[in-house]
Assembly symmetry: C2
Homo-oligomer: 290 residues x 2
């Protein structure tokens, strides 16, 4: 028996087959083009395992419909990616694979991965952010995703401008929200070059840390979680975390006694595998199955 | 059999005795002075019912220790009210009343009241804010309080200054956080007179609504709840809610399709009884009992 994992991201899909201990048997990656093209490749990949496939865990870019009693459950809904708008993701797979499927957002899946097998292991309340081409967040409390009328969209929380930052923000909806000020494209537009090309001591990293500290601060006050995990490409800048702690301390000003920051605001233990392991774990644990 | 309710607020304690349908048999109120004075009155009140008292629900001002495995579980911890710092609230009551006690924050208790018997009834995810002398928030998902290393402190989330607002903020920790800009004392200090004395069309209400809209916006993106309930003295200004909807719409700019705002951001159905009914319900439902 094997489990299937689909990490459906905005730029690529990562599909994998693994066992209940998250040993990965095979993993492939496809560019996210149109549903016709991309899903054809996804289906071909899993067909090889059709006879032993127990269930599939899917973490998708969004917004997605997560309400099982909704007629569009399992759909990607109002995404700006036009080809994927109102796309019946789960239904398309169900036509081919008659197995249970777990369906949640890509960040929720990564959060679940870190909760089950990474930095969130053994903790009750875990929040995961990915800081990359966009910013997304997901939260779990006692293994249940934080959600209501829909899943969270934490990356678009409001932030205050850094006093030295004149960048006008590039979120198409909110200009200067967290994503508009702190995702990879914002760093690049502000600095005039990619984040990877900036020196470690470039002042742009202080600006970036100020926004991420606001994110961690608001998360602390809203959810009071046991762990805040900051993942995604931007967090590969190892100098960032220390700057985030400093800015967080200044914002908090002693008001809430959090756990020690080095243990409270951390990077993913599973690295880039958080999503794949999360989807395998969702498949294994029969969470959110339909 | 009767249930006891203690709403322990920063200015007054409201104690009540009620039945399982929240019919209130007796209710009294004491000023919050010192633990010795105030708790003496509390204990005297409940002693009259000692023989029929099934359990007590307590919603307290905070911060409080909610972790049952902690040696200071049931304590008020680092409150700025010096007399109550590190006060063993539950332990003091337990010395006199050998009944189960539910222990949570005052806003969590009010949130539970609205969830069980008010505006949140029948919904999965409910957030409650009180906007009064301070701002506090609590959240429930499927009857479980949102919490982790501690309870939330939502009232201190960061907000952006309204462009016409030169008030410097009066939160002793964060100056211009939500509470520092939008609680009753901030309104009074900004306007030079109490909120109740301001005309309905005073521009100060637009400023207030802008901050409350940011609160609702961030709450939407972080928790995506089914209901956001805004209670407390400031919300008795009936003209506020419409202004909050307008500012919320402008901030959201169509990004997340929330439920209809008139049904999504609401005032408490239980009015000032949310806390008392919440504590009775916590007592009745054996939640958080110790």
């Amino acid at each position: 028996m094997v489990y299937g994992s689909i990490e459906a991201g905005g730029t690529k899909f990562v599909c994998a087959i693994g066992d209940g201990d998250f040993n990965i048997k095979e993993r492939v990656s496809f560019p996210t083009t149109t549903p016709e093209e991309t899903m054809k490749l996804v289906i071909e990949f899993f067909k090889k395992y059709q006879n032993e496939l127990e269930s599939i865990g899917i973490g998708s870019f969004g917004p997605i419909d997560i309400h099982r009693d909704s007629p569009t459950y399992g759909y990607i809904t109002s995404t700006p990616k036009l080809a994927w708008q109102n796309y019946d993701f789960v239904g398309t797979l169900k036509e081919v694979f008659d197995v249970p499927m777990a369906w949640t957002t890509d960040v929720n899946a990564a959060c679940y991965g870190e909760y089950i097998a990474g930095a969130g292991q053994g903790f009750s309340s875990v929040v995961y952010y990915t800081v990359g081409t966009g910013i997304g967040g997901g939260a779990l409390q006692d293994g249940v995703f934080v959600e209501g009328f829909s899943h969270p969209e934490m990356g678009h929380m409001l932030v205050r401008n850094h006093p030295d930052d004149s960048f006008e923000g590039n979120c198409p909806f909110h200009k200067t929200c967290l994503e508009g000020m702190a995702a990879g494209p914002a760093i690049e537009k502000r600095a005039g070059k990619k984040g990877q090309e900036l020196a470690e001591d470039d002042p742009n990293w202080d600006i970036e840390a100020y926004y991420l500290a606001q994110c961690a601060y608001n998360t602390t006050l809203m959810l009071s979680p046991d762990k805040i995990i900051l993942g995604g490409g931007v967090m590969k800048q190892k100098q960032l975390l220390g700057k985030v702690y400093k800015a967080f301390d200044e914002l908090m000003n002693g008001y809430v006694k959090t756990p020690k920051l080095e243990e409270y605001i951390v990077t993913p233990e599973l690295g880039d595998n958080a999503g794949t392991i999360g989807c395998l774990a969702l498949a294994r644990d029969s969470k959110l199955h339909s």
